[in-house]
């Protein structure tokens, strides 16, 4: 009975959602006649005056940088909430749920791969304004490097203090750069550095700086998430 009701509800919902999006149309210009969409302005301004190659980066970090600040905060809050939800008194901390006992191939392989993964992550977020990728992607790659080590070595531990220091400093850098822009140009997150030449590493003003901060922050936060969940031991699987 409940299933039938749910299916009916979903069918109605699906009809309206799918109907609306079919009306919009796929792969063709869908904006209403007489409207000048902001994406054209974004694309034009990405090259000049921002001199950033990757338009997505320029939108995420500069045009809509405020969203990104909020998004980083959401991750920061998620770590906080996880810590609050899974909080235990001191003596219980330290037990680790082990997914599998790793063989020597895995452990030595991880040791080899770990620096390479960290390097890749750093490359991705340093070149965020030139090529696909950026702070989020690079941060996630770094976090997955730590994940590999946590899985391979049973007693591998990441200093909680170090994580929160990195996280806080990166967050302060982001907000601080924003406030510097405020002092310099009168608006929050405004660019106040020379923009350089397109397709150079040192171009785009504050955009690479912010994206590097985001990379560190996301990396530290996601590592924190994995670390917190991994140190949560269920009652019955003792």
């Amino acid at each position: 009975m409940k299933k039938v009701l749910v299916i009916l509800l979903l069918a109605t919902m699906g009809y309206y959602i799918a109907g609306s999006y079919f009306d919009i149309g796929f792969g063709q210009p869908h904006f209403v006649q007489g409207v000048k969409p902001v994406k054209d302005i974004y694309l034009a301004k990405t090259v000049k005056p921002l001199t950033v190659s990757n338009a997505v980066t320029s939108i995420v970090v500069n045009f809509r940088g405020f969203d990104t600040l909020g998004e980083v905060t959401v991750l920061f809050l998620a770590v906080t909430v996880l810590g609050s939800l899974l909080y235990k008194k001191r003596h219980a901390v330290g037990e680790r749920s082990v997914l599998f006992s790793a063989s020597s191939i895995v452990t030595s392989g991880s040791k080899l791969l770990f620096p390479a993964i960290i390097l890749l992550g750093a490359y991705v977020f340093i070149h965020g304004h030139l090529s696909p990728g950026g702070g989020f992607q690079g941060g996630v790659i770094i976090a997955s490097g730590f994940l590999l080590m946590l899985l391979a070595y049973e007693n591998y531990s990441v200093s909680h203090t170090a994580l929160s220091v990195v996280e806080s400093l990166a967050g302060i850098t982001f907000a601080g750069v924003g406030l510097l822009g405020f002092m310099h140009g009168g608006t929050f997150l405004q660019n106040f550095l020379p923009v350089g030449v397109l397709n150079n590493l040192f171009s785009g003003g504050v955009i690479p700086i912010i994206y590097i901060a985001v990379g560190f922050k996301v990396g530290a936060e996601l590592t924190g998430v994995i670390y917190t969940v991994l140190h949560e031991k269920g009652q019955s699987n003792g």
Binding site: S97, L99, Q137, S236
Partner: protein
């Protein structure tokens, strides 16, 4: 033509994986299916000319979300239908 077949195949696979992830009683396999959905999604994003999103989805959807699900399953129960498990817990509490 290749493009068309590839996209159709990926879309079909994605529907199949999502049905599987909801229908499967073994939560570990269901989680793997969500990982496969993310993998297909990241290829689709690449085909839809969104490399940034593809990279993010590949890193977050395939790796991190799946691993968090797996850790949670490890800490709770593996089967959706958990009758025998529950009995064990109750007797342990009593």
């Amino acid at each position: 033509m290749i493009y068309f077949i590839l996209i159709s195949l990926l879309l079909l696979l994605m529907i199949a994986a999502s049905v599987y992830s909801i229908a499967q009683k073994d939560l570990l396999y269901a989680t793997m299916a969500t990982g496969i959905i993310s993998l297909i999604l990241s290829i689709l994003y690449y085909l839809l000319q969104a490399p940034d999103v593809a990279l993010t989805e590949a890193a977050i959807g395939v790796a991190l979300t799946t691993i968090i699900f797996v850790i949670t399953i490890r800490n709770t129960v593996r089967m959706e239908d958990e009758t025998d498990k529950k009995e064990k817990f109750k007797s342990a509490v009593k």
